[in-house]
């Protein structure tokens, strides 16, 4: 029993020492900044979860360009982010994976209307497991030996909505309906394909590129669904409109767009 209490005391003191060291390091790093910079600005960006990797990379670059601006990201599904903003969550900039969420905010006058732009594009692709050879075309999906197929839930996941549109216009939707497993987001679709629990899935090119356990069979024809765009706009409740505009302009710069294309997104020419 004595041993145990000593161990507790020791680990607690270690914890306290470590945390105080951490604080000191932070203070040391911050103090020179405080003297040189005038006023630090914080910008809250609510962005679709699929942008997490690319935006995190751009964040580092932007920190060098504009050290006085602190970027904070809130990643989530576009539907959730829309609800949060409607309920007054503090956000300066919204980047959605679907038009409808942005439209809904626009109708409620929550956006700075003239700031709205189409930031990025994406492709809808058919993916299977890395070793899987059963599915080589969209028509194969209807074959008897192809089991479950996963797509996002059309009502709430933009990628699922595009998938529904594409499969409907290709006259495959009704035929495939019994095989569908609807997922709560694209990550879940990827998960199912990666673990081999579904034979195929429909995801964005940018998602497929991030996984080394799936292979892209083909991109769905662009004419089969509405163009995939990621709209971005400044939220009208923002207190830092100028800083938010600057960041939005930066995201449209060729440097930033290059990073986005590396992650599988499509650059939309203005």
């Amino acid at each position: 029993m004595k041993k145990v209490s000593w161990l507790l005391v020791l680990s607690f003191s270690l914890l306290i020492i470590l945390s105080s060291v951490g604080c000191n390091a932070n203070n040391a790093a911050q103090s020179p900044e405080k003297t040189t910079q005038v006023e630090p600005v914080e910008i809250m960006v609510s962005a679709a979860a699929s942008l997490q990797n690319s935006l995190t990379e751009l964040q580092k670059d932007y920190a060098q360009k504009k050290p006085e601006v602190k970027l904070t990201f809130n990643f989530g599904s576009s539907g959730t982010l829309q609800q949060q903003i409607e309920q007054g969550a503090p956000a300066d900039l919204f980047i959605s994976a679907g038009k409808s969420q942005m439209d809904a905010l626009g109708q409620k006058d929550l956006l700075v209307k003239e700031s709205r732009i189409d930031l990025l594009g994406n492709d809808l692709v058919l993916v299977t497991g890395k070793e899987d050879k059963k599915v080589t075309s969209l028509e194969d999906l209807a074959k008897a030996d192809v089991g479950k197929i996963s797509i996002g839930t059309p009502e709430s996941v933009p990628a699922g909505k595009y998938a529904q549109e594409a499969l409907t216009s290709l006259k495959l939707w009704d035929q495939l309906t019994p095989k569908f497993v609807l997922a709560k987001d694209v990550t879940q679709v990827l998960n199912y394909v990666e673990t081999g629990n579904v034979d195929a899935g429909l995801v964005y090119q940018s998602d497929a590129q991030g996984s080394d356990k799936v292979k892209v069979v083909m991109a769905l024809p662009e004419s089969s669904h509405k163009p995939i765009v990621y709209p971005a706009a400044i939220i009208s409740a923002t207190k830092n409109q100028q800083a938010a505009e600057d960041f939005l302009n930066y995201l449209q710069s060729s440097d930033a767009q290059k990073v986005f294309t590396q992650y599988g997104f499509k650059s939309i020419a203005k």
Binding site: T80, K148, T153, E155, L182, A183, K184, T195
Partner: protein, 233 residues
């Protein structure tokens, strides 16, 4: 608020109730068995075993769901076995029962275990010296004395099983009419902006949970009084 009740598909209600009820039955027996084993076990692995059995309470449900997916999935150890005997559980209603059972298990196990450990050991020693079999001790002494704990554990397990979302959605998927439970229906309705539908399900799950817990509470009180009055005789 106006919507046509006939337009709402009530399948999630059936699926949720089935999953929660079956999961409660499963965890009732497994939880009591595990609690009995751990409270009697005095070896050096007690802490570890207890930790493993409690883990589902601590892990985020989606992580739990992912582990279950890997375990029961096509390429998982249990999944392969199930495929060999000609069945799969992923994306079917048994998946909702499995997910609900796993998330509910720790609540049953922990509640029952603590009430087992509160029993005065002298009573059990006395029974042993009188030559009563362990089986009889368990049914005639341990269970009746820890009944309030068992009942509380059962209610908690049912509530947790009914409310599970993350793990269920992961291994059950959203297949309307097959694996879509009430919490998942609420999530998808809210995500797609259909607040009326979400609200309807929220009210329903609220009523069900409240009824079950209230009934269970009254019943436990009634049982406790029975025990007390039996003790006075």
């Amino acid at each position: 608020m106006s919507f046509d009740l006939m337009e709402i598909d009530f399948a999630p209600l059936i699926i949720s109730l089935r999953a929660a009820t079956m999961a409660t039955i499963v965890t009732f027996f497994l939880g009591i068995a595990a609690a009995y084993f751990v409270s009697g076990y005095q070896g050096k692995f007690k802490g570890l075993i207890d930790g493993v059995l409690t883990l589902p309470l601590v892990l985020p449900p989606t992580v739990l769901g992912f582990l279950l997916l890997v375990l029961f999935g096509k390429n998982g150890p249990l999944g392969k076995f199930l495929t060999a005997i000609g069945t799969t559980v992923i994306f079917s209603w048994p998946a909702t029962v499995i997910a609900a059972s796993v998330v509910a298990f720790p609540l049953m196990y922990r509640t029952v275990r603590s009430s087992f450990e509160q029993i005065d050991q002298n009573i059990i020693y006395a029974a042993r010296t009188l030559g009563v079999s362990e089986w009889k001790i368990f049914w005639k002494i341990t269970i009746p004395l820890s009944w309030p704990g068992v009942a509380a554990g059962t209610v908690l397990a049912f509530a947790r099983a009914l409310g599970d979302f993350g793990a269920t959605l992961m291994i059950g998927g959203n297949i309307p009419g097959k694996t879509l439970t009430i919490p998942a229906a609420i999530f998808f309705a809210a995500e797609s902006g259909d607040m009326n539908k979400a609200l309807l399900w929220v009210i329903l799950i609220f009523i069900i949970s409240l009824i079950v817990m209230t009934l269970m509470n009254y019943w436990t009180d009634y049982q406790r009084k029975l025990i007390i009055s039996a003790g006075r005789k």
